[in-house]
């Protein structure tokens, strides 16, 4: 069986601390480290579990990004993936989710559609959760999103999904696209032996030409959405009434709110 894991390198937006903010209150992106998108780690783990249960499975990592994103492919291999590709080309730059999914789906067609394409539910920078379903549509494959557990059952997958109001178990034929949420089991750590062996391995690179892509559908020119404006969040201080924890203070606050008919 063949599995392709979609993984993205992202700035670590979870830790936008004081040092990551400039004096004007904007984000200093260069102060944020680049990490393996968290949900994609959960996706990798599901792929590796399938490989544990079916040892003849081949797990590959596919990422699109600048040259340094090859770290993602290596990280995947340190943890148990067999190989990987970096999709990199200036023409891919500035992609929205439609152009991103076009590039990923076109590369997958070129590489051969595997039994399972598995990715994270959402990336922590763009935060859209759109790429998985769009890759599925472009390959005309069924999709299952918000997966927490993926099991192979003959030629179908049995998947537990985390939905708004509870859980759902679905069955989907392969080939298919699955996206995994952050509440799925965490990824296993690096394997020391593999880390030594693959430290300097060559990561295969693919350009628009290599995947027979249509330039018009890649990057900025293939992106219908345009960012018109970006505003950093700066909180404006309101007029604050400061109170102590004395009974008096609290009593007068409650009375004030009651008199104004607020409570």
């Amino acid at each position: 069986m063949k599995i392709i894991v979609l993984a993205k390198q992202v700035p670590d937006t979870r830790n936008v601390g004081k040092d990551a903010m400039t004096e004007e209150g904007t984000i200093n992106r260069s102060a944020l480290s680049a990490v393996f998108n968290p949900d994609d780690m959960n996706a990798l783990e599901q792929a590796l579990r399938i490989k544990d249960a079916n040892p003849d499975t081949e797990v590959s990592v596919l990422t699109m990004g600048p040259p340094r994103a090859e770290e993602i492919v290596r990280e995947g291999m340190f943890r148990g993936a067999d190989k990987g590709w970096l999709l990199t080309d200036r023409l891919f730059a500035g992609a929205d989710t439609l152009a991103t999914s076009y590039a990923l789906a076109t590369a997958i067609k070129k590489l051969g559609v595997p039994d399972i394409i598995i990715g994270g539910r959402q990336a922590i920078d763009g935060d859209t959760a759109q790429v998985g379903p769009q890759v599925a549509e472009k390959l005309s494959l069924p999709q299952v999103t918000y997966a927490e557990d993926v099991k192979v059952n003959g030629d179908v997958l049995t998947i537990t999904r985390h939905i708004d109001t509870g859980v759902e178990v679905v069955e989907v034929p392969m080939p298919c696209v699955v996206t995994v949420t952050g509440s799925a089991p965490a990824c296993r750590p690096r394997n020391a032996r593999r880390t030594m062996a693959e430290k300097h391995c060559e990561v295969m690179q693919l350009s628009v030409n290599d995947i027979d892509g249509d330039e018009q559908q890649c990057g900025l020119s293939g992106s219908p959405t345009k960012v018109k404006a970006i505003q950093n969040i700066v909180f404006q201080a309101k007029e604050v009434k400061r109170l102590s924890a004395d009974e008096e203070d609290i009593k007068s606050l409650i009375t004030e709110l009651q008199e104004k008919k607020i409570i």
Partner: protein, 337 residues
């Protein structure tokens, strides 16, 4: 043609709250743009139930798709309904909830139509746009305003050339309109589902679905007593429940409090939880990280109870009580009695 379409999400035969919120917003946008508001609903056994729920929001045309293959929800049949309907009707705008369902369905539909899709919007406006690259000027575009970058920025996104302009909108941020705005000449169209959905679309089978009815009404609460990690324990959280009861309100929580097991997950407020806008928000032992504030900053009055005088939440609070939860809450309850 070129109208505003709202995809109405349903649970059984009940239209979900977020759809009412979107219909209300959709009506306003349609009035601004001088076009009609159309709604789409797909499910099984829904005819004669959904019409009276949806039409009061001022819908001009309601499209009903009723067939067994449309419930329980799976992606492909619903996607085919929208893709084929939109190819005929050519909407200028399509809105759906940024729920598990909407975020599963929206991208599939937008990919097939090669239209743009903006995720998880918290505001929608209409305005002009000048494209710097092409030098073209556009009127009446939908400004799709959304947090991104982990909630640290707000981006305004436009979709100048492709139609429909599609957006998913977070539940709880648009206000549901009150009163009956039914249109006298409203039309309901019952479509033949077989003309839209191919038999091959029904490949995903739902084997089991365990649904918990949401026990709380955070979205509509007038008073919310919310607790954070600073509350310290599940036992201390009981105090919040008592205070909320006295104020006829609901209890909410920060993610740190949920992660620590002080409170159930469905009470989490913030970017990855519920968005609320009560009249009074009492934040107890909550530091006020950006992801939490994203879900409660529109509260009319914010009261912060925190041992740290410099807690970030104090910057957006109207009243700051410097003290511990254990000390302050009993005093509040005593004052209320």
């Amino acid at each position: 043609m070129n109208n505003i379409f709202v995809y109405c999400e349903i649970d059984g035969i009940d239209v979900s709250e977020v759809s009412f919120e979107l219909l209300s917003k959709g009506r306003q946008l349609a009035d601004t743009l001088g076009c009609e508001l159309e709604a789409v609903v797909a499910g099984s056994g829904i005819k004669d139930y959904v019409e009276r729920q949806i039409l009061p929001f001022g819908v001009d045309v309601l499209h009903v798709f009723d067939a067994e293959c449309l419930a329980p929800y799976t992606t492909l049949p619903h996607a085919e309904v929208l893709i084929n309907l939109f190819r005929q009707e050519k909407p200028q705008v399509c809105l759906m909830g940024a729920t598990v369902m909407g975020r599963d369905l929206g991208p599939r539909v937008s990919s097939a139509l090669k239209s743009g899709l903006t995720a998880d919007c918290t505001a929608l406006e209409i305005g002009p746009h000048d494209d710097r690259k092409s030098g073209r000027h556009y009127e009446n575009l939908l400004y799709q305003i959304r947090p991104a970058f982990g909630g640290n920025i707000i981006a305004t996104i436009v979709n100048p050339d492709n139609r429909p302009q599609m957006a998913t909108v977070r539940p709880g941020v648009m206000r549901k309109a009150e009163g009956d705005m039914s249109r006298e000449d409203a039309k309901v169209v019952y479509h033949d589902v077989a003309e839209y959905v191919s038999p091959e679309a029904c490949v995903v089978k739902v084997l089991k679905r365990e649904v918990k009815k949401n026990g709380n009404n955070l979205g509509g609460a007038q008073v919310i007593v919310a607790g954070g990690f600073g509350v310290g324990s599940k036992e201390n959280f009981e105090m919040l429940h008592t205070l909320a009861e006295m104020l006829h309100g609901e209890v909410g929580a920060s993610r740190a409090a949920v992660d620590a097991g002080f409170c159930e997950h469905d009470r989490q407020i913030g970017q990855t939880g519920v968005t609320v806008h009560p009249k009074v928000y009492i934040a107890c032992g909550i530091s006020g990280q950006i992801q939490h504030i994203a879900g409660m900053q529109d509260s009319s009055i914010i009261i912060s109870v925190n041992t740290d005088e410099e807690a970030p939440i104090n910057a957006i609070a109207d009243y700051v009580i410097t003290g511990s939860v254990e000390d302050v809450l009993p005093k509040m309850m005593a004052a209320l009695k």
